[in-house]
Structures are given as structure tokens and as C-alpha cells.
């Protein structure tokens, strides 16, 4: 199965953020989106996740299990800047909710909640309210959320922003495990993810010529 984008462009308000972006990610591959601040990395990821409308172009899943999904978004996990966990609930309640609510999509199965917490090195604090955790721990628990329900595509927006070196290495291990089980990943980041050789997409940031109508 492949995640294919052709000639994508998107705008926010009046401004065209990027234009004519194409990529093709296969199983076991990671595409790392790089570029300076404001170059549209987050926007690209949100467009792929179906959270922002695209101006033109198309995104599709091709081949194999890719046919089974109604929408591209339905095949994706999205790890954004925010963790999508409730401070008032315990970590376990949070993870259980997402496991039950998201469910597994075709081609794989999520791991058990305690296993996922162990995988991010925080198995001992499942019973704590999420709000008690430090920023780094919260981020790691948000990553455990990726494991509890199976999605072939991981869309990761600055996944390692609040993490120390050890946790970064841990996260690289998680992504590798995901790739080896037939997944693929699309990540935006400044830091190297420690994944070894990956494809890179450089977002150049956009010149003002898009706004020529108003300039």
C-alpha cells in the first residue's frame, strides 16, 4: 500500500501556503518533511490528515489494503502539537477511550494498553491522572496512543519537540517497529529522528508572488 499525493496546494485565508507538492510513500518508508518555520510543514500534514481543505491536487491510498478505506484520514493516526488527552482522566482511561473509540483498521491490531505504556517506558504510572504528568511524559503517553489502535499511516507533527535524547531514541524505535509491521509514516520535524536513511521533502517557504492579485 502507498500514500500518494499529487500536485497538492493549500491556502490559509488569502495566502497560498504551498503549491504543487507531490510525494509517494510506500510500506516501510518514512517521509520527513523539513523546512524553516512558516514553510507550511504543519499545514501540509493537516491537509493530508483531511483536517484542512486542499486548494488543488489529490491525496490517495493506492494498492493493497489502501482500497479498503473510504477516506485517507480514516487510515491515519495524527499526532499534532497537542496531545489529545484529558487532564482529568487517568492515563489508562485516556488510552482505553482512544483504543475503544478509534478501533483497529484493516491490516493490523493495536497492542494492549499496558503494553503500549511499557513501550514508551511509562508502564508504572498508568493509574495517574494525565494532568499530573510532566510535559515530556505527556508527550510519550500521546505516542502510546498511536500504538493502542492500528492505523497504517502515522502523521507526526514535531513528534519529539518536548522530549529528551533518551525518549527520542525510544520514539525512533516505535516508528521503526511501526514500519516493520507494514506501516508508513509522514513526519515534520527540525530534529533528526534517528531513523537512519529516510526520504526527505524540503518545504521552501513561499514567495509573495502567490498574493499577486493583492500586491
Amino acid at each position: 500500500m502507498r500514500l500518494v499525493a499529487e500536485g497538492l496546494s493549500a491556502r490559509r485565508g488569502e495566502d497560498l501556503i504551498f503549491r504543487d507538492v507531490s510525494f509517494d510513500i510506500g510500506v516501510g518508508e518514512t517521509l520527513v518533511v523539513k523546512g524553516p518555520n512558516g514553510s507550511g510543514k504543519s499545514t501540509l500534514l493537516r491537509v493530508v490528515a483531511g483536517l484542512l481543505p486542499r486548494e488543488s491536487g489529490k491525496i490517495m491510498l493506492a494498492g493493497g489494503e489502501g482500497q479498503g478505506f473510504d477516506t485517507v484520514a480514516g487510515a491515519c493516526h495524527y499526532l499534532g502539537h497537542r496531545n489529545a488527552m484529558k487532564r482529568e482522566l487517568t492515563v489508562e482511561e485516556n488510552l482505553r477511550f482512544w483504543k475503544d473509540f478509534l478501533g483497529d483498521s484493516d491490516g493490523g491490531a493495536g497492542v494492549a494498553i499496558d503494553e503500549a505504556a511499557d513501550a514508551v517506558g511509562l508502564g508504572s504510572i498508568l493509574h495517574l491522572p494525565f494532568g499530573y504528568l510532566s510535559a515530556g511524559q505527556q508527550r510519550r503517553m500521546a505516542m502510546a496512543k498511536l500504538l493502542v489502535a492500528w492505523r497504517p499511516v502515522w502523521i507526526l507533527d514535531e513528534p519529539t519537540a518536548a522530549l529528551d535524547a533518551a525518549a527520542e531514541a525510544m520514539f525512533a524505535g516505535l516508528v521503526k517497529g511501526h514500519l516493520s509491521r507494514g506501516g508508513l509514516a509522514l513526519a515534520a520535524t527540525h530534529q533528526p529522528l534517528g531513523l537512519g536513511a529516510v526520504n526527505e521533502l524540503h518545504m521552501k517557504g513561499f514567495a509573495v508572488d502567490s498574493a499577486e492579485a493583492w500586491a
Binding site: D118, A119, L128, S134, L147, A169
Partner: protein
């Protein structure tokens, strides 16, 4: 009990809450027993005495209604004292006391309101009138609920304690209003008949069960308050320990973690 053995393990740094836990743990079963005893005697007296020639059987409602109403005001006074303790002396237990008294006070006020209504219907022909006494007690009830809501809305106990204490003290003006409302305004509600300067204006026949019930309710309040305070101390201890647990968790995972899921952490 496990927390008691915890409490006396190290004698040198017994914090106040710890000492309170040990002390209250020894005291509250006795208080509970005394409460049960007084209630047994009080309830027996309630139904052994004859009815009033004017009010008939309904006079028996008084034995519940009047003590509950007293307690609703006394509980607020306890909370006001605790609020002073929080703001002036910064006593660590004062805030625990104020916070835990609120639900208990709300329950007693609720009992006073309900039994009052059930007494008013046969006597006055209506469940409720908006006179000074009844209205001020209802306002007291709302204030209790508001304080509970405030405590629930702020999740940091130290911050909730200060604002809660200020609100309690501001609300204290309501207590004298309740107490003297029956004297200041002419209302349906009868004036105070037990605590008066010229001695009780109530037949000793009724006074005896009323006093026993009042003592029983007061004991009940203090028993519940102490046990609830113990719970609150434990709750705060749990939350401190949880923060401790969160801080210490994940320290052991320095160094690279193997790739597979579930193998990362021994």
C-alpha cells in the same frame, strides 16, 4: 490500620495532619458509638412523648427539624472559624476542615428544609413561603452548594482554600440574619422557643427529646466531620504521592530502547 503504623514510624517529623490522623483514628469510633447511643435514646423519646394538643402528631417533626436547623448554622460557624484559621493562622488543617464541612452542612440544611416543608404543609397549608427565615435558610443551602462547586472547580487545594475561605467569611453575614429573622420580621415561622433570655418557652415534655436529639445531631456532625477530614487528608496524600510517582517514573529508561513494541521496558 496501615496509615497509623505509617504515622508513628518516625516520631521526629510528625506533621500536624499525621498527628491528626493518629488522634482522630483513636477517637472517632467512640464518637460514632456515642452518636448511635444518643440517637437510640433520642428516637425513643421522640415517639414515647405525647403529641401537642394544637399540632397533634406533627410536633414530632420538630425533633428532627430543629436540631438539623441548628446544625446547619453551627456547621457554617465551624466553617467560618476554619476560614479564619486558613487566612489568619495558615493552619494546614483549617482548610481541610472548611472544605469537608461544606457537604455535611449542605445535607443538614437540606434536612431542615425538607422537614420544614413537611411540617409546613399540614400546619400552614403550603410547602413553602418566601418569608425571611425560610428564604435565608434556602440561601444558606445555596451557599453551601456554591462552596462545594468552588472547591470542585479549582483543582489546586491551596488556591481553592484561600478563595473558599474568603467566600465563607463574606457569606457569614447570612447567619445572624437567619438567627434573628424570626424576631426582626413578622412571619409565619414561630420565634425561637428554646434559647431565650427568660428561659425556655417550651414544655419540658418536648424539651427533653429535643435536647437529646440536638446532642445526637451535634455528635453526628462531629463524627462525620472528623472522618471526612481524615478522608480529605488521605486524598491530599494520594495526590502528593501521585506527583511524586510521576516525577520518579521513567527515570530508569535512559539509554536507547529496543525497537519492538513491549520490549522497551523490563
Amino acid at each position: 490500620m496501615s496509615e497509623q503504623s505509617l504515622a508513628i514510624r518516625k516520631f521526629s517529623d510528625l506533621a500536624n495532619p499525621t498527628r491528626f490522623l493518629a488522634l482522630s483514628g483513636a477517637v472517632w469510633p467512640w464518637m460514632a458509638a456515642a452518636t448511635a447511643l444518643f440517637f437510640a435514646v433520642g428516637l425513643y423519646l421522640c415517639f414515647a412523648t405525647v403529641g401537642d394538643y394544637q399540632q397533634g402528631e406533627t410536633v414530632r417533626i420538630m425533633y428532627v427539624h430543629v436540631p438539623a436547623a441548628w446544625l446547619s448554622m453551627m456547621c457554617y460557624s465551624v466553617m467560618a472559624l476554619s476560614a479564619l484559621g486558613t487566612l489568619v493562622w495558615r493552619h494546614p488543617l483549617a482548610d481541610v476542615s472548611a472544605k469537608t464541612a461544606a457537604p455535611i452542612g449542605a445535607c443538614f440544611t437540606f434536612i431542615a428544609l425538607v422537614t420544614g416543608s413537611l411540617w409546613g404543609k399540614p400546619m400552614w397549608g403550603t410547602w413553602w413561603v418566601w418569608d425571611a427565615r425560610l428564604t435565608s435558610v434556602f440561601v444558606l443551602f445555596l451557599m453551601y452548594l456554591g462552596l462545594i462547586a468552588l472547591n470542585r472547580a479549582v483543582d489546586d487545594p491551596a488556591r481553592a482554600a484561600k478563595v473558599g475561605a474568603i467566600l465563607i467569611l463574606v457569606g457569614f453575614v447570612n447567619i445572624p440574619i437567619i438567627k434573628f429573622s424570626v424576631d426582626w420580621w413578622n412571619t409565619l415561622h414561630q420565634p425561637a422557643s428554646v434559647i431565650r433570655l427568660d428561659g425556655p418557652a417550651i414544655d419540658p415534655e418536648f424539651l427533653r427529646p429535643l435536647l437529646v436529639m440536638a446532642i445526637a445531631f451535634t455528635l453526628l456532625f462531629f463524627t462525620l466531620h472528623i472522618v471526612a477530614m481524615r478522608n480529605e487528608i488521605l486524598r491530599r496524600r494520594v495526590s502528593t504521592l501521585r506527583r511524586l510517582a510521576a516525577r520518579s517514573a521513567g527515570r530508569g529508561t535512559s539509554g536507547p530502547v529496543p525497537a519492538g513494541v513491549g520490549e522497551g521496558h523490563p
